[in-house]
């Protein structure tokens, strides 16, 4: 936060500098440059002006000198004297010409001579020249016959700039008869060169002679250095140029100068006007210095202002930032001075108002959150929410108690990993798809499914799952409401089982009614039929046959009587109270065999009774009925072989006391194993019997909570079994063991409920 703030004020300052100082600097530079240009131009103009004036002065001087020449040559007296001298060279003529020339010398010339066209001095104001002759070469003399020409400038012994001028001397017919030679100092040039007007402290006018090899020889005494020659191509070029202009160059001293140069052809003379660049541009430099100081000062003030301003903005911002940081305190904004009218104050007020609203919203959210927690924590349903991938996002306490998984164990895991269905594929993806398809219209019943789920500890729980979905931004989330319905499902299953049992019972009863009615009717049919036969016999007076018919009618009546008795007995089995007691099986079987000794002997059957049989918990009378019926059944149907044997015994298996009657008779086909236990069902109509005995066994065993069955293979005898359960709560095999001196085989805790305990 501190860093950001610093950076902000830095930025602010930099922005100020960029916005304030850089343009200023640029402007200063521009102005400096502009002023330099302006001043440079001005100086150049000045130099050009001076150069022009000086050149004009030189031009004027040369013209003046020409005029002087013409004045001299136009003296008729001199002309006629020279013509005269040509025809007759006399001293007289020479002396007269010298006199004339001396008069003319007053014009300022050092010496004036008259020459012949071949350059021989005829008469001169300086007699020495008459002997020396003219220094002019032939080319110059040749040119001088046509016009006034100047020889080279030179400095004489007195360091004056002098020049030799030659001009034609014409007769009356304008024929060249001779030449005039004037040597004159050019004092004006010295004054031109010495005139520094307008050239400041470092400026000067130089007169130069252009040497054939391109060097410049300075003619006039220089202001700073005498007798200089040098080479300066740019000046040379400037002199030869058409237009007079100023250039920047290096002078003979090596100084950078601004200079203008021109050339006077008459005198073969260059004029250079120059001034030191430093001096010329010194006003601009002074201006530049001022500008730099201005910029520095302005920069300092801009930085100062920037710092002050940025401070004034960042300080409230910092306060606001701290207030926002401390927002958790709720009233952090109240301590701020938000009365200021500038933008930061406005921002602060806006933030404060927003904070107020946020605090309100937060309180609402906290209330909502508390309510949500209350609902989730106290819901009777397990509430589980999953994201679009089917991964658990929420797992309420009831889900923990329902399935045994803690929330932290479930979060992020696949729903199918923590809610494992009892069998088959995990149904959750299908359910979520169904929810998606159903949409989330409120008021519609949620899609519901029922599943049996394995808890963490492996036990099963029946649940009803309702699911709904909601869109959270682009994601779909699902919420499952899971209700435990184990009890209901158990009840439902029990009900279903009972219903099935009831239905089976009903069908059995229906079958029973049918069977009973049929079997009761059978003797009646016999009676009716034989009564009809009797009637016929009576009509036919066939008395012999009548006796048989009457016997049959009587037997049928007896049979019906017995059937009804049996039915009554069997129906009573469930209604008369039974009194359980521990019965010693061996004792019971011995009594049975004693009672049935006659029948056993008649059937020629050997009955063996096993030793070490378990006790049974049963009603003594009814148990006896069971065993009597089993013995009777075995005698009737099983004792048919060569050496019929009936084996009787008992074992303790699965908490039941099981007893068997095994014969070595013809056996019973598997498809009849159930049928024979039903009322009035007989496999053999030849052997007398009512078909009630085994039905009674079944009934009594049912009443005792036990069961009866047969094991048999056709042709290999039959073993009829009955199993009596132990009484509930009796789990002391030891007692059993002590009583019988043998270990119980496969003894288990009995689960069969006791029935009919009075």
């Amino acid at each position: 936060m501190e860093n950001n703030e610093l950076r902000l004020s830095h930025k602010f300052t930099l922005a100020f500098i960029a916005a304030g100082i850089l343009p200023l600097l640029a402007m200063a530079l521009l102005a400096f440059d502009f002023s330099r240009r302006a001043i440079g131009d001005q100086v150049a103009g000045q130099l050009v002006g001076v150069a022009r004036v000086q050149t004009n002065r030189i031009q004027l001087l040369s013209r003046l000198k020409r005029d002087q020449m013409r004045l001299i040559s136009s003296r008729t007296q001199l002309r006629s004297l020279f013509v005269e001298w040509l025809s007759e060279p006399t001293d007289q003529a020479v002396a007269e010409m010298v006199q004339i020339l001396r008069d003319a010398r007053d014009e300022g010339a050092d010496q004036i001579s008259v020459l012949r066209t071949d350059g021989e001095v005829v008469a001169s104001t300086d007699e020495t020249w008459s002997e020396r002759g003219s220094p002019a070469d032939e080319a110059l003399l040749e040119r001088a016959q046509n016009q006034v020409v100047f020889g080279e400038l030179f400095l004489d012994a007195e360091q004056r700039i002098c020049v030799d001028m030659y001009g034609p001397l014409l007769d009356r017919s304008k024929q060249v008869i001779g030449l005039i030679w004037v040597r004159t100092p050019l004092r004006e040039l010295a004054s031109i060169a010495g005139d520094y007007t307008g050239l400041g402290a470092s400026g000067e006018t130089l007169l130069v002679k252009l040497q054939p090899e391109g060097t410049l020889t300075y003619l006039t005494p220089q202001r700073f250095e005498a007798d200089s020659t040098g080479r300066n191509d740019s000046l040379l070029a400037a002199m030869r140029g058409d237009r007079l202009k100023a250039i920047e160059t290096i002078d003979y001293r090596g100084e950078r100068v601004l200079a203008a140069a021109s050339y006077s052809e008459d005198l073969d003379l260059g004029v250079i006007v120059k001034i030191d660049r430093r001096e010329a541009l010194s006003p601009a430099n002074r201006f530049g210095q001022m500008a730099i100081w201005g910029v520095v000062f302005a920069s300092l003030s801009v930085v100062a202002v920037a710092l002050i301003l940025s401070g004034s903005i960042t300080r409230p911002l910092k306060q606001l930032t701290e207030a926002v940081d401390d927002f958790q305190d709720g009233d952090a904004f109240q301590q701020l001075d938000l009365s200021s009218q500038h933008e930061v104050g406005t921002l602060g007020r806006a933030l404060s108002s927003m904070a107020g609203r946020l605090a309100g919203t937060r309180r609402e959210l906290e209330k909502e959150s508390a309510f949500r927690r209350l609902v989730l924590d106290s819901a009777h349903d397990a509430i589980v929410s999953v994201n679009g991938d089917g991964r658990v996002k929420l797992w309420n306490p009831r889900a923990r108690t329902m399935f045994g998984w803690r929330e932290d164990e479930c979060l992020g895991r696949e729903l199918s990993e923590v809610l494992k269905v009892d069998d088959g594929e995990s149904p959750w993806h299908a359910l979520l798809r169904e929810v998606n398809a159903a949409g989330s219209a409120s008021g519609e019943p949620l899609p519901r499914q029922e599943h049996r789920i394995r808890r963490r500890d492996g036990s099963a729980v029946d649940v009803q799952v309702a699911a709904s979905s909601m869109r959270v931004e682009t994601q779909t989330e699902y919420c499952l409401f899971i209700q435990e319905v184990t009890k209901q499902k158990d009840a439902e299953r029990r009900l279903k089982r009972l219903n099935a049992e009831l239905k089976a019972k009903n069908e059995e009863i229906q079958q029973l009614v049918y069977t009973v009615s049929h079997d009761l009717k059978s003797p009646l049919v016999t009676c009716k039929g034989f009564i009809g036969v009797l009637r016929d016999d009576l009509e036919r007076e066939a008395y012999d046959e009548m006796l048989d018919s009457m016997d049959r009618i009587l037997r049928a009546a007896h049979r019906m009587d017995r059937l009804i008795d049996d039915l009554l007995n069997i129906s009573r089995i469930g209604t008369i109270p039974i009194s359980h007691e521990w019965i010693e099986a061996g004792e019971l079987f011995r009594t049975l065999v004693d009672d049935w000794q006659m029948q056993i002997e008649n059937a020629k059957v050997e009955v063996t009774i096993a030793e070490d049989m378990p006790r049974l918990w049963a009603d003594r009378v009814q148990a006896m009925t069971v065993f009597e019926n089993l013995l009777a059944n075995a005698l009737k149907h099983g004792a048919k072989g060569e050496q019929p044997i009936i084996g009787v015994g008992g074992v303790e298996i699965d908490g039941e006391a099981r007893f068997y009657f095994a014969d070595n008779g013809p056996g019973i086909a598997p498809e009849f194993h159930d049928k024979i236990f039903r009322l009035f069902q007989r496999l053999d109509s030849v052997v007398p019997g009512s078909g009630v005995g085994l039905a009674a066994v079944t009934r009594i065993m049912e009443v005792h909570g036990g069961h009866a069955w047969v094991e048999s293979v056709l042709g290999q005898g039959a073993t009829f079994w009955v199993a009596f359960p132990r009484p509930a709560g009796d789990n002391n095999e030891q007692l059993e063991d002590e009583a019988h001196g043998k270990s119980a085989t496969g003894a288990r805790e009995t689960t069969s409920p006791s029935r009919g305990v009075p």
């Binding site: 059978s522 049919v525 016999t526 016929d536 049959r552 049928a556 069902q681 496999l683 109509s685 030849v686």
Partner: protein, 137 residues
């Protein structure tokens, strides 16, 4: 009538009922041979093991081991007895029997005890409608 006597098989487990039927049959002139078996197994083995082919079967519904319907189904499945006329005899009259018996193409369902006249009627009907009548005459 010059027709040959009618042979009848009685399938009846009840001794008295069998005797009764036999008595009534024996008093009808057209009846010739009368055989009796006490259950379905015996009836089927009779057909499968001998050349015996009765003109009519009187079948009791309430039989030990296999019921009358099971016997009927077995008879109809056998080539020899697939078209043998069968009259179902039962002591419990109800519509179910008639309906179920029809599926096996039985001539009639008679309620016990059948009178001699009723049996005579059936035999007469059998002789007059039976397609194989020609064979006999």
């Amino acid at each position: 009538m010059n027709s040959p006597p009618v042979s009848v098989l009685v399938v009846e487990d009840d001794e008295d009922h069998a005797v009764l039927i036999e008595k009534q049959l024996s008093r009808i002139a057209v009846v010739g041979d009368i055989q009796r078996v006490v259950n379905g197994d015996d009836a089927i083995s009779l057909f499968s093991q001998t050349q015996y082919k009765p003109d009519l079967i009187l079948l009791d519904l309430n039989l030990p081991r296999y019921s009358g319907y099971e016997v009927l189904a077995a008879l109809r499945a056998e080539e020899a007895t697939s078209r043998t006329p069968v009259v179902v005899v039962t002591s419990s009259p109800n519509d179910d029997h008639a309906e179920r018996a029809k599926q096996y193409n039985v001539m009639d369902v008679v309620v016990k005890p059948a009178t001699g006249e009723r049996i005579a009627e059936i035999l007469h009907e059998l002789r007059s409608t039976r397609p194989e009548q020609e064979e006999w005459s």
